[in-house]
């Protein structure tokens, strides 16, 4: 056993200094395949990150409820009744929904005139509870803030602007501290939202709207009913029980069948997030298969060259057999050679891919939505392991089949007269 290992190692070292030009081409083919698979997987990973991030742009693990209309008769009450939640339902819901970590209401006014200086535009104004900033990911840019519990309690006329809306009204001027006329009522601008990726929306992107305390909104527009109820859970797994609690609480208060999904139906982003995760995983597998096929072509190149070497060396193989080489001592060096070419190519490919990834990460992508959504290619341990396993597998195959042909050489046949 030990003798065999020594023989194989010695023969391998003697043989590998040969065929330099071929070796370079082969290694290049494998390197290219490796770069292809690594970059595809890295872009897939980057895209997945961005999609998950964009999905969370609206808020993580939240559910959004609109109003509803009953479709079932319940306790003598007819179907077709409109169910609207009101501002004072929120405390009731908070008490009845222990699974939710946050519950808030929204009132919305579309086409509201917003005036500053000589600029007037129409925009969307939402009245919301102060928790909205955290729950719906409205994070302020430096120098500003979202409104707080005091603002809400005191019905202060403060307004928080989406970054696009702020730019449309104020241009280059810093809006914080300015007075904005909202439907001819003056409001103090207290913050502008940080730009964010947002995929889902139920009334238009957050960057294009403004938010004020819900109490202030109710006072100015004399509104009591809510356009939306939004609640959040800590983990996606808590969502089903929170939804059940919501249906029970609301149906008890407004007297409808709690199983009436025409009323209780809502937008559950936790569920959507799970779907997105599996979709992205499938997409990554698809990219991985394309990369693996590219790598396989490189592996076929290695095998091809190894076949040529075996053919060229048939006589030498015959001589080695004649002077006492075991079969595995003939095949061993070929398998090693195939492995070496493959792994060497893989190593080069990895280096190139790392350089490319670092290069892409250095390119600024702000203000280009397509590239921003594509994200930055990202290499992960998972990707490295998958690629290494593929390389090893292809390397063994690329060496094994030519080696098998080498072992089938009949010394008596090859050493005959030419």
């Amino acid at each position: 056993m030990r003798r065999g290992f020594l023989v194989i190692a010695t023969l391998f070292l003697k043989a590998s200094s040969l065929q330099r030009k071929r070796a370079v081409l082969t290694v290049a083919a494998i390197a290219w395949g490796t770069v292809a698979i690594l970059m595809l997987l890295a872009f897939g990973e980057g895209l997945r990150h961005q999609m998950v991030k964009a999905r969370r742009g609206m808020g993580e693990n939240i559910a959004v409820w609109w109003s509803g209309e009953t479709s079932k008769v319940w306790q003598g009450l007819p179907e077709g009744r409109r169910i609207l939640a009101r501002l004072d339902d929120l405390d009731y819901l908070r008490a009845k929904m222990p699974s939710a970590t946050g519950i808030l209401g929204e009132m919305t006014s579309w086409q509201t005139t917003l005036t500053w200086d000589s600029n007037t535009i129409t925009g969307r104004v939402t009245g919301a509870n102060w928790e909205y900033g955290e729950l719906r990911h409205h994070y302020p840019q430096p120098g500003g803030r979202f409104f707080n519990a005091h603002d809400e309690r005191d019905k202060r006329r403060v307004i928080f602007l989406g970054n696009q809306l702020a730019e449309d009204i104020f241009g280059d001027v810093d809006p914080v501290g300015e007075i904005l006329q909202v439907a001819n009522v003056p409001y103090l601008v207290i913050g502008v939202m940080q730009p964010k990726l947002q995929m889902g929306t139920y009334k238009g992107p957050d960057e294009g709207g403004a938010v004020i305390p819900i109490t202030t909104f109710a006072a100015q527009w004399s509104r009591r009913w809510l356009n939306n109820v939004v609640f959040k859970v800590a983990e996606a797994d808590d969502m089903p029980s929170a939804r059940e609690e919501f249906a029970q609480a609301l149906s008890a208060r407004y007297r409808f069948d709690p199983t009436d999904e025409q009323v209780t139906g809502l937008w559950d982003t936790a569920e959507g997030g799970k779907t997105l995760a599996s979709e992205m995983r499938a997409f990554q597998i698809f990219l991985g298969i394309i990369g693996a096929l590219t790598l396989l072509v490189g592996g076929i190149g290695v095998a091809n060259i190894m076949y040529a070497v075996v053919k060229e060396k048939t006589r030498e193989i015959g001589v080695q057999m004649a002077i006492g080489a075991h079969r595995s001592w003939i095949t061993g060096p070929f398998v090693l050679q195939g492995m070496t070419y493959t792994l060497l190519g893989g190593a080069f490919g990895l280096v190139i891919a790392i350089v490319l990834v670092l290069g892409f990460q250095a390119v600024p992508v702000e203000h280009n939505e397509a590239i921003e959504f594509l994200g930055k290619p990202t290499l992960s341990v998972e990707i490295a392991v998958v690629t290494a396993a593929l390389l090893g597998f292809i390397g063994i195959l690329a060496g094994y089949f030519p080696a098998r042909r080498a072992a089938s050489v009949d010394p008596a046949e090859t050493l005959r007269y030419e």
Partner: protein
């Protein structure tokens, strides 16, 4: 692989025969046609003999040599090499037998082109499991003995035909085999180199080695102690040289 009964150097059987072939046949089955290359050969070679095998092309000389050298196995008959039955050995066991008992010299030298003369001579010892240092020492010794002590680091392409054949002979001797088999060793050489190689072979015989040489070359055959003539797969002549 180690099987003590076989690896033990057992130079010749009790009766002193190195090669003992009885009723050897070899049939090549190419599917449709069966070719009988050997049709019942009896051949006995004793330790220290120099036997030349002669015969026209297609007579079965090379087939016989392949069988003697365990590169191939006979279709029928019994073959004892150094008192050891060759029948029934697997490929790796046959390789071990070739490695320890047989030294090959080919018409076209068959040196490994990427290796130096020294490395070529070391190769059988590498397969024989001999340590690195000992390999080097013995390879140097053999190369000096064939007069190539100055050219050990040369590759085959840097050597003349005669020199290549001498390297091949040094390689054949590396494992101190029971028998040296040469297939037309002078066939690719000019007259001068050819006679050098012949002298070298005669010298080996004088040192007590056993040689079997297949040749067309009557000068070489004339140097042998015995000439075996093959025709149509049968031994038709077997005469000792008159000293």
């Amino acid at each position: 692989m180690n099987w003590p009964g076989r690896t033990k150097k057992n130079t010749g059987s009790s009766n002193g025969h190195i090669i003992e072939m009885r009723a050897i046949t070899k049939v090549y089955d190419t599917g449709k046609i069966k070719v009988e290359a050997l049709r019942g050969i009896d051949l006995v070679v004793d330790k220290g003999e120099f036997v030349a095998v002669v015969g026209p092309s297609g007579s079965g000389k090379s087939t016989l040599l392949n069988l003697v050298g365990c590169l191939d196995t006979p279709s029928g008959g019994t073959y004892m090499l150094g008192g050891e039955a060759v029948a029934g050995l697997d490929r790796d066991q046959l390789a071990d037998v070739r490695n320890r008992r047989v030294g090959f010299v080919f018409q076209n030298f068959n040196l490994l082109p990427q290796l130096t003369a020294l490395e070529n001579v070391e190769m059988p010892m590498l397969f024989g499991g001999i340590g690195r240092r000992e390999r080097r020492r013995r390879a140097m010794e053999h190369l000096q003995r064939v007069g190539l002590g100055e050219r050990v680091e040369h590759k085959p392409t840097e050597l003349s035909g005669g020199q290549m054949q001498r390297v091949a002979i040094a390689r054949a001797l590396a494992m101190e085999p029971d028998i040296v088999l040469a297939d037309e060793p002078t066939g690719n050489l000019d007259t001068g180199s050819g006679s050098d190689v012949m002298s070298l072979l005669s010298e080996l015989w004088d040192q007590g080695r056993t040689l079997v040489v297949v040749t067309h070359d009557s000068t070489l055959a004339a140097r042998a102690g015995r000439v075996v003539e093959i025709r149509d797969g049968l031994v038709v002549g077997n005469q000792r040289a008159v000293a």
